[in-house]
């Protein structure tokens, strides 16, 4: 009889360890044990990896006392996300450890790093609304420490922007959760199924999680933040934390169980716009991190489109969900691999060797859907989805996807170009960096091919026509890039993007400064008291007059007469 209890206890322990380990380690950073923590950093992600691979699915552990009713558990989606995130965090930890070996603010960084990690793992395991929100917030705010770590002006500015948008996202999310809770009356994520969403709730959810993935109106933080953060941090931002946004959508708007045509349209429109916009602004960036960020915006736009399609109706939802996950896995691995490559460049202190260049090109073009890459598989799946929806959505696959693929390849070539021309100083830990890059490269290259769920799409992507269809946008992108380079070598494109970046930020500061000026003026005035002071001399005079005998006599007489009259 005790065995189920024991089992569930063990289960709960395991699940708690996933987020608990990094959190505990973060706590230990504040103690003299910080050296040990620094050494053990990569192992923080190991429980998560273990859990993701071994823990049973769909067992929900209730922790009623925890934060208004905690629930945690692992489902299929969660397992994939956890696996993916843990892997990327694991790699990034190694990278960070070696990168920051001699850094002054090492401990600082690790605290935030570990906390963000805990948040990221925790939210994947969360099975309650508030739990998700809690870990999401923890992750978001901890990531601020990563963004700002370098301490440069750019980092500060990026951090401010990031924080502002995170805050907006948090508030939007908070509001959305309130409305959800109000309409469902339950905190469990399972109960989201079949809810009819208020459009406002949808919009709030879009914004709330959209901040994390750089959805269009709230994307501004991504480029500066990716650029400003140390590269391992950027890698997890782009590879792991970004997925929290997608997972959020999946959790709160479970595909296949809910539908909202209007919402779907909103998501599709915003995603499509972002997919193009990301490329356009990406081409203006001259820093590798920023370019990758814009690529993320663009790629996430595509994922948003997939999600939007899934929201259109239940059928579509059921089909879209696997595609979405496929795409997410593909993007994360590819993007992190790119970042680790970028890291390698930075650390080598010189340009890449050909081999390295080629290796880096693979994940880059994988994003554009180059045949034989995971990108091709993902894109095929996407097209398949669009195809099944039929009608107007068919045009999407025929027209829109190639265009974005072309754009992405253009952007990726631009990335390679920027990477080649970037000046780097060189850091320690080249060997580690190489190994990490290699691992990530391999992961990006083969995961989808080995993944059972992607098998159909994988085989489809190898079909002849598909092959060609996937190839021409890449080629087109390459051509376009060459043409564009020609033109832009004469006219400097990198003009005044700095100013625009801080636009929102500037407004905020101006308003604050204006308010503070007013406050200073307020403080100077002390009107009431001075005006009351003026009353004193007349009062004194009148009291003196009151004391004169004749006034006394008059009042005496008046009093006599009055009382006489009144009493008679």
């Amino acid at each position: 009889m005790t065995s189920p209890g024991l089992q569930s206890m063990f289960h709960a322990l395991l699940l708690s360890l996933v987020a608990g380990t990094p959190l505990l380690m973060a706590a230990f950073c504040c103690t003299p044990l910080k050296k040990a923590v620094a050494r053990l950093l990569p192992w923080a992600a190991v429980p998560a990896l273990l859990t993701a691979t071994t823990a049973p699915i769909d067992v929900v552990v209730e922790v009623p006392w925890f934060f208004m009713g905690g629930r945690m558990g692992l489902d299929e989606t969660g397992r994939i996300f956890l696996c993916l995130s843990a892997f990327i965090w694991f790699l990034a930890s190694f990278s960070a450890r070696s990168l920051l070996k001699n850094d002054q603010g090492q401990t600082h960084f690790f605290v935030f790093f570990l906390t963000a990690m805990a948040g990221n793992f925790g939210l994947i395991l969360a099975r309650g609304m508030l739990g998700y929100y809690l870990f999401f917030a923890v992750m978001s705010f901890a990531a601020y420490g990563l963004v700002i770590h370098k301490g440069t002006d750019e980092a500060a500015k990026a951090g401010r922007l990031y924080l502002t948008l995170v805050m907006i996202g948090e508030v939007a999310l908070f509001t959305a959760l309130l409305t959800l809770m109000h309409s469902t009356g339950s905190l469990a994520l399972e109960d989201m199924a079949g809810v009819s969403y208020h459009p406002l709730t949808l919009a709030l959810l879009f914004i709330g999680f959209g901040v994390k993935i750089g959805a269009l109106p709230v994307h501004g933080w991504m480029a500066p933040a990716y650029q400003a953060a140390p590269i391992p941090a950027a890698a997890v931002l782009a590879g792991a934390m970004i997925n929290a946004g997608i997972l959020g959508w999946l959790r709160f708007l479970p595909l296949g169980q809910t539908s909202s045509p209007q919402g779907g349209m909103l998501f599709v429109a915003a995603g499509a716009l972002a997919a193009v916009y990301g490329v356009v602004i990406g081409l203006k960036k001259k820093q590798a991190g920023a370019v990758l960020a814009c690529s993320s915006i663009s790629q996430m736009g595509l994922i948003t489109v997939i999600f939007g399609l899934g929201l259109l109706d239940h059928e579509a939802g059921l089909q879209a969900a696997p595609v979405l996950i496929l795409y997410v896995v593909h993007h994360s691995l590819a993007k992190s691999s790119l970042f680790f490559g970028y890291d390698l460049v930075e650390r080598q202190g010189r340009t890449l060797s050909r081999l390295q260049m080629a290796a880096l090109l693979l994940p880059a073009l994988s994003l554009a859907g180059l045949p034989f890459t995971s990108g091709a598989i993902a894109k095929t799946a996407f097209k398949g989805l669009a195809g099944t929806l039929g009608g107007p959505w068919h045009g999407l696959s025929a027209f829109f996807l190639p265009i974005t693929a072309m754009g992405t390849s253009l952007l990726m070539f631009h990335f390679m170009y920027v990477l080649r021309h970037s000046r780097s100083v060189g850091h320690s830990g080249r060997t580690e960096s190489r190994i990490i890059f290699a691992i990530s490269f391999i992961a990006a290259a083969i995961t989808l091919w080995l993944w059972p769920a992607a098998r159909i799409s994988a085989s489809h992507s190898l079909a002849g026509m598909k092959f060609l269809q996937a190839l021409w946008p890449v080629a087109g992108g390459c051509l376009l890039f060459l043409v564009w380079r020609r033109i832009s070598s004469r006219t400097t494109v990198f003009s005044d993007e700095q100013k625009k970046q801080g636009g929102f930020d500037t407004i905020l500061r101006t308003v604050t400064r204006f308010l503070q000026e007013k406050e200073k003026q307020n403080l100077k005035q002390d009107g009431l008291v001075t005006s009351l002071r003026k009353l004193v001399p007349p009062l004194r005079r009148s009291e003196k007059i009151m004391g004169r005998w004749k006034v006394v006599g008059l009042s005496y007489l008046a009093l006599c007469l009055c009382l006489l009259f009144l009493l008679l």
């Binding site: 004749k550 006599g553 008059l554 007489l557």
Partner: protein, 245 residues
């Protein structure tokens, strides 16, 4: 001088207003006074009824010292208070040198003072059946004292302060003492035991007359005797004496 006087006669606006109000008030009160008629019984009958038991024949004295003796007790206190107040305020003005007194004045004083004392005694005695009594007698005594003071006769001044104080306090003290004595015997303050009323009243009247005379004279002197306040600590400077300047 004439002009100023004229100016004084003219009333300014305030005074006119004031005059008007005063006239109004007087008229009003007068009118009310006129309306109060009808039987105003007063207490004449009551007094007459108990005259027998009061121990004196004069109704006024009966009221003063028997029926409303308590009032009189307090009134004596008021007089004493006036002296204490006067003494607390200032020292009696003391001329620097004794001026010569004309022999006529001296002679008159020598003649008048004993006579006045005699008259006072008579008035006190007479108080029991006719108009008169302690106050009248005291007033005469006081006048005698004033006469002596004006004549700069030294005896009043050279009287030891303590005996002067005894003289001042004697009347009130006897009055209070008698009252308490009566309280002890009859249970009423100033409730004279049967048959003793006349004598006790006379005792009170005599003592009071003495004190009242002394009081009036002291008030006339305008302040305390020089050595009234005995310094326990000698002042460093003369601000005590300089107070009057």
């Amino acid at each position: 001088m004439r002009r100023t006087r004229n100016r004084h006669k003219r009333l300014d606006g305030f005074q006119r207003l004031f005059l008007l109000l005063v006239i109004c008030l007087t008229a009003l009160l007068g009118a009310i006074l006129c309306t109060i008629h009808g039987p105003t019984p007063g207490l004449a009958d009551a007094v007459a009824q108990f005259q027998e038991q009061s121990g004196v024949e004069s109704p006024v004295t009966a009221v003063l010292l028997n029926f409303r003796g308590y009032d009189t007790l307090l009134e004596v206190m008021v007089l004493l208070l006036a002296v204490i107040g006067a003494w607390s305020l200032t020292e009696a003005p003391f001329p620097d040198q004794i001026t010569e007194i004309s022999p006529v004045q001296m002679g008159a004083v020598r003649l008048l003072a004993p006579v006045m004392c005699l008259v006072a005694a008579y008035l006190v005695w007479q108080g029991s059946h006719l108009a008169g009594g302690a106050f009248q007698g005291g007033a005469i005594l006081g006048a005698a004292g004033v006469l002596l003071l004006v004549s700069e006769l030294p005896w009043l001044r050279s009287t030891p302060v303590f005996s002067l104080r005894i003289g001042l306090v004697l009347g009130p003290l006897v009055f209070v003492g008698t009252a308490l004595f009566c309280l002890f015997f009859t249970g009423d303050l100033l409730g004279y035991p049967e048959g003793t009323a006349g004598w006790l009243i006379l005792l009170i009247e005599t003592a009071c007359a003495l004190s009242i005379g002394l009081t009036l004279a002291s008030l006339f002197a305008g302040g305390r005797p020089e050595d009234e306040v005995v310094l326990e600590h000698k002042p460093v400077d003369q601000s005590f004496n300089g107070e009057r300047s």
